[in-house]
């Protein structure tokens, strides 16, 4: 395949970036999208140019490290991660635009790589169950209805890639936060901290500068793990309950 790539190049956060055009011929449809970028980078390196920086690690759709906007769509818009997207999804002669996630809480580090540590701070605010090592009761002492455990699992599959934020016109992190609130809130083990968790996580995402959720649904439509909008309803429900119960965010 022959392709024209237009890629966002930005040396570091202090300078402005621009789109730069590259031409590639000899791309196999069996290559993954990142393997196609590898080919480009190897060429740039041999020419003594700076290769395109992009994040990736597992290359099997599970670590959440990869993620770019492809033709304006997060991860290319195929309900998969960038690393799992294959060139057979494109046509010979295509022009492909490649840009980083665009959201102020995710500042660009270089080219296509952004800083997503805001997500970790949202987890730090309450995305856990407090159980010191070695204090756990016997696993079978609390049966969990299969339906709840399956639904908790579905929410727990969020890989923290940030596509939901990148896809959202408000740059809201609601789907990410809601996935964790739902995962832990559906399990009996997660009940004691349920209200504190939701209040603290939502407070933190506001502090990080993520936008508000106006139920547009672009997040879920771009999510490679199919996290559903229902998780957001659950979050709102828990949040309301917490506020009624007078739960306050920790300082």
């Amino acid at each position: 395949m022959r392709l024209t790539l237009r890629i966002w190049r930005q040396k570091d956060p202090s300078v402005k970036g621009t789109m730069v055009t590259y031409k590639l011929d000899d791309i196999s449809p069996d290559m993954s999208f990142l393997e196609m970028l590898d080919v480009l980078n190897e060429r740039l390196i041999m020419d003594g140019d700076d290769p395109v920086a992009f994040d990736h690690d597992c290359r099997e759709g599970i670590c959440g490290m990869c993620g770019v906007m492809i033709n304006g769509k997060a991860h290319g818009g195929e309900h998969t991660t960038t690393c799992q997207l294959h060139m057979r999804s494109f046509k010979d002669g295509d022009t492909i635009d490649v840009e980083p996630w665009r959201a102020s809480p995710f500042p660009v580090i270089k080219d296509l790589a952004v800083d997503r540590r805001a997500f970790d701070r949202i987890i730090q605010a309450g995305g856990y169950i407090s159980v010191p090592t070695g204090t756990a009761p016997e696993a079978h002492s609390t049966p969990v209805p299969k339906k709840d455990s399956d639904a908790a699992f579905d929410a727990a599959t969020c890989i923290g890639c940030g596509a939901c934020v990148a896809a959202c016109p408000n740059a809201s992190s609601m789907l990410f936060t809601a996935a964790k609130v739902t995962h832990l809130g559906l399990l009996p083990q997660g009940q004691p901290e349920r209200y504190d968790r939701v209040v603290n996580m939502v407070t933190q995402q506001d502090l990080e500068g993520f936008g508000g959720c106006t139920n547009i649904g672009e997040c879920s439509a771009s999510c490679p793990k199919g996290i559903s909008m229902e998780t957001i309803s659950r979050l709102n429900h828990d949040l309301l309950g917490a506020l009624r119960a007078g739960v306050k965010p920790k300082s």
């Binding site: 590898d38 290359r59 299969k146 890989i159």
Partner: protein
């Protein structure tokens, strides 16, 4: 033995396991005899933990919670991305929830046997004991394991066992376990007990008066090289399968931390023990950057076969039953498709060598679900393996519900690693090694679902209990950047980076990595012989020489430079590859994943030589020009009878 390639030093032994009590009491006894550190003193001590996978994440969280000052390092943006996240199949534990005859002793026995009698009994027994606590801990953290309709936990079977003891979360068990550890870790970070260093790569170990006292690291975003000091250092940096370039590891998985610690004096044990996983998606092109595993759990329901005739290119669905060879079921009637990995991989290689392999280059066998779909119905198969089938379809463009998967073995796991004693302490006092980075529990072959178990056993339960014996002598004298050991380490790191940038040759880093990987796969892969290894050992020094004179690394080191990161890692892989080949050559027997063509039974199974090789090979590094030194740790079997493994 080719003595020109190494020299033999003093034997080494583990002196920490209390062998004066029966095996079932040794772990409690060790904990009882080891000294403790009182809570007020813990606050005065710092522990560096490099790595946030199952091993490092759980260790850092537990130590932070216990009151130590912990500094945590990892190379990705978030701790949640450690490659443990990719583990699919499950985690073993001797809960005996199925009431099928499982017990701590049986898990212990299966693991020693599965490791082809090349692991330490004491460590494996402890692992089996602790396994039950892991499940309790994870469930309490909210890990959504698969459950049955009654609300209790479900189990599946894995290779090399006849009981059902594997706990799982669909095909994403590693992800869910890692998020449990990650959340515990983030909680400790929020509480101020764990200091975070994301996108920071350890490049050297600082050793002062014989003790590990800190690390030199590079901030991958700014390029800044920094030093960090502590009373103890824990390495949890994962396996080194990427020596082979193509593997199921993550692109960033590396040997740099353990290799540089090795060069500082930590012995490297059994480097040649690598696991080739039988069920991966076959290689499809030159540009390929990694291989994807299809979980072993698929062998619960999938049947492995090739056509009986060589060169049969018919659509698999058109090949009648009686013209198929379900070779694992034929050769191993009692374990069938669930033989251990080393055996399944080698048999796949054998049928392909016979010319009966399938797919474009003849390097593949079928993994067929037609029978399972008929027996269980598509929804049931989907519920169990849905995400794996989707992943397969995404990568290959074929639908495994309709046509059999094609699979082929790929490098997956490294049983070798830094040598540690029962306390998980390396030969450098104060440096501990946990998870895949150490060599401890799997002998010459790891059973499926046992690495997750080991990582979490080490991190949650073993290390936090054993490290206190060492720290009881602390806190140690403060050191700073002016200390000669620190100055020397920092200068060494800077010099190496500068050298890489100065070469400005004509070959890319990736091209060296690909060449090394192919060489290792061909000559030190599923089958090794004196001839192949000698060939590898002739070639690797040439690759190293060419690398250091002709590699091209662009950019500078004061910025985000992925090309430079990769170059440093490949430099280490080249050196490690050489030691792997020396180890493989010296071990003139077959055992587990180490198959020497010269040592096989008449049926072609691995033939061990217990008289001469029932030991751990712990290698001491020597500067270039001098051959490495072999230290043997004899393995003694008190509880498990040494026998030829049989899965027939």
């Amino acid at each position: 033995m080719p003595l020109d390639l190494f020299t033999v030093g003093d034997p080494i032994a583990d002196t920490k396991a209390p062998t004066d009590v029966p095996i079932g009491e040794r772990w409690s006894e060790r904990k009882f005899r080891g000294r403790l550190v009182n809570p007020a003193n813990r606050r005065k001590m710092t522990v560096i933990v490099v790595g946030t996978g199952l091993a490092g994440g759980s260790a850092a969280a537990t130590l932070g919670e216990a009151g130590y000052k912990v500094k945590s390092f990892w190379y990705q943006d978030s701790p949640r991305r450690a490659h443990s996240v990719a583990a699919q199949g499950g985690i073993n534990a001797a809960k005996n929830y199925r009431n099928d005859g499982d017990s701590v002793h049986r898990l212990f026995y299966d693991t020693v046997k599965g490791g082809d009698f090349r692991s330490r009994e004491n460590n494996v027994h402890r692992l089996a004991e602790v396994s039950v606590n892991i499940i309790d801990q994870c469930v309490a953290q909210g890990v959504p394991f698969a459950r049955e309709y009654g609300g209790l936990l479900d189990n599946r079977s894995f290779g090399g066992t006849q009981v059902s003891r594997t706990f799982y979360a669909r095909g994403q068990t590693g992800q869910q376990l890692l998020y449990g550890a990650y959340q515990a870790l983030e909680r400790q970070m929020a509480a101020g007990n764990v200091e975070q260093h994301s996108r920071t790569e350890m490049l050297d170990l600082i050793v002062v008066d014989g003790r590990a006292r800190g690390i030199v690291a590079r901030d991958l975003v700014t390029g800044e090289i920094s030093t960090h000091y502590a009373d103890a250092v824990v390495l949890a940096t994962g396996g080194y399968g990427n020596v082979f370039y193509l593997s199921t590891n993550a692109k960033g998985s590396n040997a740099t931390a353990i290799w540089r610690a090795h060069k500082r004096g930590a012995y490297f044990a059994n480097p040649c023990y690598t696991q080739i996983h039988p069920t991966c998606i076959p290689v499809h092109g030159e540009y390929q950057s990694k291989l994807t595993l299809m979980s072993e759990s698929l062998r619960n329901d999938g049947r492995v076969w090739v056509p009986k005739e060589r060169g049969d290119t018919r659509d698999p669905r058109d090949i009648p039953e009686d013209e198929r060879d379900y070779y694992l079921e034929r050769i191993y009637p009692s374990f069938g498709n669930l033989v251990p990995r080393d055996i399944a991989s080698r048999q796949a290689k054998n049928v392909c060598d016979e010319g009966r392999g399938v797919g474009p280059n003849g390097l593949g066998v079928y993994l067929d679900f037609a029978e399972a779909i008929e027996r269980l119905g598509r929804p049931a198969v989907e519920a169990k393996y849905g995400n794996l089938f989707d992943m397969y379809a995404q990568i290959t463009g074929e639908d495994p519900y309709r046509t059999p998967m094609r699979i082929y073995p790929a490098v997956h796991y490294t049983m070798g690693g830094l040598w540690v004693d029962y306390d998980l302490q390396s030969t450098i006092p104060g440096m501990f090694v946990i998870g895949e980075a150490n060599f401890s529990d799997h002998g010459a072959n790891r059973l499926g679902a046992s690495a997750l178990m080991q990582g979490l056993a080490d991190g949650y339960f073993v290390l936090p209990a054993t490290i206190t014996e060492y720290l009881a002598d602390g806190p140690f004298e403060k050191i700073g950047d002016s200390h000669p050991a620190a100055v020397e380490a920092v200068q060494g790191v800077q010099a190496q980076i500068q050298k890489l940038l100065n070469i400005n040759g004509t070959r890319s880093v990736a091209s060296f990595h690909r060449e090394l990987g192919k060489l290792m796969w061909d000559l030190c892969g599923m089958e090794r012989s004196e001839e192949s290894l000698r060939k590898a050992l002739d070639r690797i020094p040439e690759i190293r020489q060419e690398f250091w004179t002709n590699v091209k690394v662009v950019g500078d080191w004061h910025s985000f430079n992925q090309n430079l990161e990769q170059a440093g890692r490949v430099a280490d892989f080249i050196e490690l590859a050489e030691l792997m080949c020396v180890d493989a050559l010296h071990r003139n027997e077959s055992c587990g994943g180490h198959f020497r063509a010269e040592s096989q039974t008449p049926e072609g199974e691995a033939l061990r030589d217990d008289e001469n090789f029932a030991y751990v090979a712990a290698w001491e590094w020597t500067p270039e020009g001098a051959p490495p030194v072999l230290h043997r740790e004899d393995l003694e079997y008190e509880y498990v009878h040494l026998a030829q493994r049989s899965y027939k």
